[in-house]
């Protein structure tokens, strides 16, 4: 792995020539092949890919969950963990205990965000029940509320936005893309409607290779070609 010194660009999340390989029982599999992209402040970026194209791996590398095999990832802003259905939560703990845990590890005062999270997640009395009893919609609401509480500059979203009713989705949209806040988002999905709706420009990931496009529509057109070719 190269450890060349690189500067951190203020307000940018940079993925530079990243390759990720996994060892399996039948040899090494290259999941990401020389991938580069930059997320700037206020970007609404989408990554479109089929199942197994490496999109979840990419977003996990961007979130610092696992290291790249080669290449570098530099974060010049506060980047969230990848918001997904699993991960991040302790399902045996209550929503409130999960909030306490998150506050402690990110150095945030519980009292400052507790009311906000309780209100935003709309869990009612379930907030004091173990997360394992939650529906997927409730988990998604808690995931969003927690990431808003930590006040990240860049939020990584792995499909999870697809759940919940329209009203809650609107609420998330308003909070995520509050123009006063100037937050960046990266959404990975196989669903072109989500990408069209929530992204200004998009990438398509095919077999570990990343293809950049100016607009979400161009990316979707290319994606459909690869899908049926």
């Amino acid at each position: 792995m190269s450890r060349a010194p690189h500067s951190v660009y203020e307000g940018e999340l940079r993925v530079t020539n990243v390759t990720k390989k996994y060892k399996t029982s039948h040899g090494t599999v290259t999941v990401l092949d020389d991938v580069s992209l930059t997320v700037r402040r206020g970007d609404r970026l989408g990554i479109l890919g089929r199942n197994g194209s490496g999109k979840s791996t990419l977003i996990r590398l961007m979130g610092g969950v696992s290291p790249p095999t080669s290449g570098s990832i530099t974060a010049g802003m506060k980047v969230s963990w990848p918001l997904a259905f699993g991960g991040a939560f302790q399902s045996g703990l209550t929503g409130l205990d999960n909030l306490k845990f998150i506050c402690r590890i990110y150095g945030v005062e519980l009292d400052q965000v507790r009311a906000f999270v309780e209100e935003f997640a709309e869990l009612g009395s379930f907030f004091r029940e173990p997360v394992k009893g939650y529906s997927s919609g409730m988990r998604a609401r808690l995931a969003f509320a927690l990431s808003m509480a930590i006040d990240f500059d860049c939020i990584l979203i792995d499909e999870v936005i697809a759940v919940g009713d329209q009203r809650f989705r609107n609420k998330c949209t308003d909070a995520l893309w509050d123009p006063k806040r100037g937050r960046s988002t990266v959404l990975v999905s196989h669903n072109e409607d989500l990408i069209r709706h929530y992204c200004d420009h998009a990438f398509v990931l095919v077999k570990g290779k990343l293809y950049p496009f100016g607009s979400a529509d161009e990316a979707i057109a290319f994606y459909n070609e690869t899908l049926y070719s």
Partner: protein, 274 residues
Amino acid sequence: MTGPNEPIASRRREEPSFARSLQLQLSVWWALAMREALTRFGRHNVGFLWLFFEPMSFTIGITLVWTLLKMTHGSSIHIASFALTGYSSIMLWRNPATRISHSITVNMALLYHRNVRALDIVIARILLEIAAISASFFGLAILFVFFEFCEPPEDIPLLVAGWSLLALFATGLSLCIAALTEKTELFDRIWHTITYLLFPFSGAGTLLDWLPPGARKALLYLPFAHGVEMIRHGYYGSSIRTHEDWQYLLYVSLVLVFVGIAAIESVAREVEPE
């Protein structure tokens, strides 16, 4: 501090100071330890007071058994303090070193947060175990002395120093075990057996001075035996003869700590959170 949804332009980005980094590191360990205690014991009834009650009940049980067996062989020392120092010393290294098995794999989801590293998960659990047994040991010591089951300790600083050194050994050993159990399944299976087989050689059930010189010399190769001897030296003062070499225990512990940290860093490069 800025609240959620405040414009970025109004915030300055500053390099975290050493004090701030240290504070965050400690709060990560605290968060992980609290989470571990909560998941293990829940919020029901006395909840995570069981963390202390569990080792206490073991020690009290052993004290009763040893009293019945008259383990102190008619020497002048009280059986209660002898069992307390002996069995607590064993638990101080054995509990963390057995409960640390697979701690990284089972807590993999925590690695989703960039402030949590594999080493943090392991250290937090070791600290939790050490804190629980220390609270049990010192709590019972105060109770035993208060109710006059045994004499008060002679040399408290020496006792605390011995306890701290043995805790450092426990930390080093547990770090190594944590890495080994992640590397091979087999090790986890034999490790529990090994810890039980080590019981007679732990120095807990006897003073080394009561042993023939040959056996004593052999036992003194085991680092934890030095810890028990030192703790008893502190407890009984010069009324007994002890044979510990604190430097040997310190050096072995430091080597284990460094080897353990390196091994866990190597494991951390291999694990992939789901």
